[in-house]
């Protein structure tokens, strides 16, 4: 039997998705022909903003390239707009006259940007923001011209403005309303957004109406109705879109702004379907992909002759894709009569939260500055759940309901399966977990391919990665495309580590030539990483390369802003003696050291020392290096513990000193800090250390992967043990695993977020023999370590490093 002919007009996000869904359900049912007006196959229009700002490339946003169509046996015509639909003959005709017959027709023509009807709107340099073509034009203009004006302060306009700003243009956004994104934000949030964008450098003219665009041939300036003018060699119209229904209207199909469809996406002509922004469903035309993808599913279901899907409309939420701005809006944020509002506005930290409640149900929400709970609120909103019982803590967010309070994978683990992760594609956590388990997925890209989660606007990528991590544990490695070591190579940290181990590479030149680096000596980013990978993989065999270390680690002191150095000696466990303090005082006097300071790490720093003086200072100090400069063991902070404290349960000083003496001189992917407390009051801040050990009556609790730095992370419970030996073994094994598998510059917190804490527990806590092996490996790697200060000062190695060159002679020309 001959196959039915399916023709599709428009090859955008909704159309291509419909075909994907259809091929899943009924692969061989139709002979498919697609007409697209653009010269590209199917790409992710949403990410055009990132292409404009330079964060993505055209290649990276392609969804289905021409090969995909060929593979699926679909005839694809690019650059071929359809000009006419003839319903009587069931044919479509392209602009260049080609006629093709159909049994079923999909119209997926999207929408057309609104071009303001002002004089000058046809000048060169006046464009819209809709296609790759437009982005190309903007990038080109940004290279040649200085001033851009974006008309429209909605989502699209702001993303265009940010992109052009990233391209170095002077950008002004002109907006008719009183505040930005007035359809998604209330005044308070709109103003906050404006402030953040102003801080990035975008200028705003609100409540301004454009009168005309001036210029001869090319735009030069823009004039407003109040008579003012500003320069503009590029004018981007982002003042709204209109469903592209012209073809259907001309063919006599009922339209009302959009092409009117029923719940199965059929138009008034039952052979013809419409999906995407061109459709009007129950009076609504949508402008975001989430609803379009739902439509695609239903339409495909119907075309596959299953007839069970129904589209009943969508609630939508909005996010702005501007780097560094967190904004979420959903539902009815004005509320109106009988609505109650819960509002939190912290001007100092730039956080605004508004929840609108009606009849004990959440009906709208705006989040600004912190959007982690967006997905949760959106779920409550769509489910129409009664929130009376959680109302008191609703504003505090989902974490507050449980007692976790931790970032990352914990949050993913705590999410219910029914919770939606990817708003664009309507993918729930349960769906993702199921696909990971059943299909054996390992990477972000796998998940994108199989579930579509994170494949559209990308704002849920982090969450999907967390779900991968919490589902797979250590088997999870993040998407390789995301982290080449640096610009010298396409290889990732994981690949480099693996090659070094597998092929027993022992020097940096070997790695660089084996892995085909594009630069002869690497660069200041990759060389330190390679050096670390070599010495941690092949201790005693690979030789440390001082030229691949940052100056701090090369001269074992911390370079300061004027080019002199600070010196922080080790004080084991933070314990010192009068004799030591006297010596420090003497050294400071003798070498006229400008400043002595008690550090945040429970030690003493001598600051402002000239490089040439370092060896003498070290010699006079006679104390070992505290490695306050290195990706290595830093301080081990202790509290006094049961030696003095009335609450102390354990000997923290002994424990701290023993751990420090065991691990000093240990290089790691990043710095490592320990804290030992004698009771849960935790005076050594063990809860924000890479390893925190807290004494309790019955033994010790071990916490790992805390961080008190740039992004605070509370350490997570790792194991509870009885003896000091067990603490030592667990700590050593955890550190060795991190040393062997962490990526350079990844602290224990980021590392465990990536591989999953469960993975570390499996390898260290649950597997005793592996724990002992790791412990032993670390101790072997640390054999024969030498105190660098003693080497420089007493044994006199590398003296050249600290000496300036003298002039030997002068020779006339």
């Amino acid at each position: 039997m001959e196959k039915m002919k399916l023709v599709m007009i428009g090859n955008g996000m909704a159309g291509a998705r419909t075909l994907e869904e259809l091929l899943k359900l009924a692969p061989g049912l139709y002979e498919i022909t697609v007409f697209g007006a653009e010269s590209y196959a199917n790409y992710n229009r949403i990410l055009l903003s990132q292409v404009l700002s330079g964060e993505q490339t055209i290649r990276s946003i392609m969804l289905n390239d021409v090969d995909w169509y060929a593979e699926k046996g679909i005839t694809l015509h690019l650059n071929k707009p359809v000009a006419k639909i003839n319903r009587a003959h069931r044919t479509v005709q392209t602009a260049d006259g080609e006629i093709t017959g159909y049994d079923r027709l999909i119209i997926a023509t999207g929408s057309t940007p609104i071009i303001l009807p002002v004089p000058g709107n046809d000048l060169e340099g006046v464009i819209s923001f809709r296609s790759i073509h437009d982005v190309d034009a903007m990038i080109e203009a940004s290279a040649k011209f200085g001033h851009a004006v974006v008309i429209g302060g909605g989502l699209l306009g702001l993303e265009a403005a940010y992109g052009l700003l990233s391209r170095g243009m002077d950008v002004t956004v002109v907006h008719l309303a009183e505040w930005l994104m007035e359809r998604q934000l209330d005044q308070a949030a709109g103003r906050m957004l404006q402030k953040s964008l102003e801080a990035k450098g975008i200028k705003f003219l609100l409540q301004k109406q454009t009168e005309c665009i001036l210029g001869e041939g090319r735009a030069r300036a823009i004039r407003f109705t109040d008579g003012t003018e500003i320069p503009a060699e590029l004018v981007v119209m982002a003042a709204g879109i209109r469903p592209n229904a012209a073809l259907a209207e001309a063919a006599g199909i009922h339209c009302n702004r959009g092409i009117v469809v029923n719940d199965t996406m059929q138009t008034y002509d039952p052979r013809i379907y419409a999906v995407g922004e061109c459709a009007s469903h129950r009076g609504v035309s949508y402008g975001l992909v989430a609803p379009l993808f739902e439509m695609a599913k239903v339409c495909a279901n119907h075309l596959a002759e299953l007839g069970i899907g129904r589209y009943t409309g969508s609630a939508i939420s909005t996010k702005l894709k501007v780097t560094g701005i967190d904004l979420f809006s959903a539902g009815d944020f004005n509320g109106g009569e009988h609505a109650e509002e819960i509002v939190m506005h912290d001007t100092a930290s730039g956080i605004y939260k508004k929840l609108v409640i009606k009849d004990n149900k959440l009906v709208g929400s705006i989040l600004y500055g912190n959007t982690v709970d967006g997905a949760w609120y959106f779920q409550l909103l769509r489910e129409g759940r009664d929130i009376a019982d959680i109302r008191d803590s609703l504003l505090l967010g989902q974490n507050h309901l449980g007692n976790t309070g931790h970032q990352g994978e914990n949050r993913a683990a705590a999410m219910p399966d029914s919770m939606e992760v990817c708003g664009c594609n309507g993918v729930t956590k349960g769906c993702i977990v199921k696909a990971i388990k059943e299909k054996g997925l390992f990477t972000l890209n796998d998940v994108r391919k199989h579930t579509k989660a994170s494949a559209s606007c990308g704002s849920c990528t982090g969450l999907v990665e967390q779900i991968l991590a919490s589902t797979l544990g250590g088997a999870y490695t993040p998407t390789p495309v995301e982290k080449p070591v640096c610009a010298c190579t396409d290889h990732t940290h994981a690949e480099v580590r693996m090659a070094i181990r597998k092929h027993k590479l022992l020097t940096i030149p070997e790695v660089i030539s084996f892995m085909e680096w594009s630069t002869p000596d690497g660069c200041a980013s990759c060389r330190p990483a390679l050096n670390y990978y070599l010495i941690s993989t092949w201790p005693h065999e690979a030789k440390d390369d001082p030229r691949s270390r940052h100056i701090n680690e090369r001269v074992h002191a911390n370079i300061q802003k004027l080019g002199d150095y600070s010196v922080v000696p080790r004080m084991w466990g933070g314990v010192t003696t009068p004799e030591q303090l006297r010596r420090i005082a003497d050294v400071a006097d003798k070498h006229q050291i400008p400043a002595i300071k008690v550090t945040g790490g429970q030690r003493i720093a001598l600051a402002g020392i000239k490089k040439e003086d370092l060896p003498k200072v070290w010699g006079d100090l006679g104390m070992p290096s505290g490695y306050a400069y290195g990706k290595s063991l830093r301080s081990v902070k202790t509290c006094v513990g049961n030696a003095f404290c009335r609450f102390g349960t354990q000997n923290t000083l002994g424990m701290g000193i023993d751990l420090e003496k065991a691990f000093w001189g240990m290089w790691a992917p990043h710095k490592v800090k320990l804290g030992i407390s004698g009771c849960p009051r935790n005076c050594s801040e063990a809860a924000i250390k890479d390893i925190g050990v807290i004494g309790v009556e019955s033994g010790w609790e071990i916490y790992v992967a805390g961080n008190g730095g740039t992004k605070t992370e509370v350490a997570q419970f790792f194991a509870k043990v009885k003896t000091q030996e067990e603490v030592m073994e667990h700590a050593a094994a955890f550190l060795e695993l991190y040393r062997q598998e962490g990526y350079y510059m990844e602290r224990t917190a980021q590392w465990t977020q990536r591989v999953g804490l469960d993975y570390a527990k499996k390898r260290v806590v649950e597997d005793e023999s592996n724990r002992k092996t790791l412990h032993q490996q670390l101790m072997q790697a640390l054999e024969a370590r030498k105190d660098p200060w003693e080497e420089f000062a007493v044994k006199g190695v590398e003296q050249q490093e600290f000496k300036v060159l003298e002039i030997l002679d002068e020779v006339p020309l």
């Binding site: 002869p520 660069c523 060389r527 100056i551 020779v811």
Partner: protein, 102 residues
């Protein structure tokens, strides 16, 4: 000035490294690349004066140790996207000895 200053044997400058000389007006960093090319630059980064001599050398660039600006050793210019420039001085190596002109 019209004279060459005899500095040191090439071997006294580590490959992919630098040594410093103090002249009356400024510190000067003398670099040696992996290919044994030698360059001399004023030892002050155009950004905030960081000592370039203490940076990491790769190819014919040095990365400033303070905030990571990259400077081209042959012309003293900052590598894009950064802007800025430091003074360079003529150098030559003869019979394994490094000479500098200031």
């Amino acid at each position: 000035m019209n004279r060459w200053i005899k500095l040191a044997a090439l071997d006294e400058i580590p490959p992919l490294g630098a040594r410093v000389i103090r002249s009356a007006t400024a510190d000067i960093a003398v670099f040696r690349t992996a290919k044994d090319d030698v360059y001399a630059l004023r030892d002050a980064c155009p950004h905030k004066g960081g000592p370039l001599s203490q940076g990491m050398v790769a190819g014919n660039e040095v990365t400033c140790p303070l905030h990571g600006m990259r400077i081209c050793l042959s012309d003293g210019k900052a590598v894009a996207p950064d802007n800025g420039c430091v003074t360079t001085y003529p150098v030559k190596v003869e019979n394994g000895i490094v000479y500098l002109r200031i």
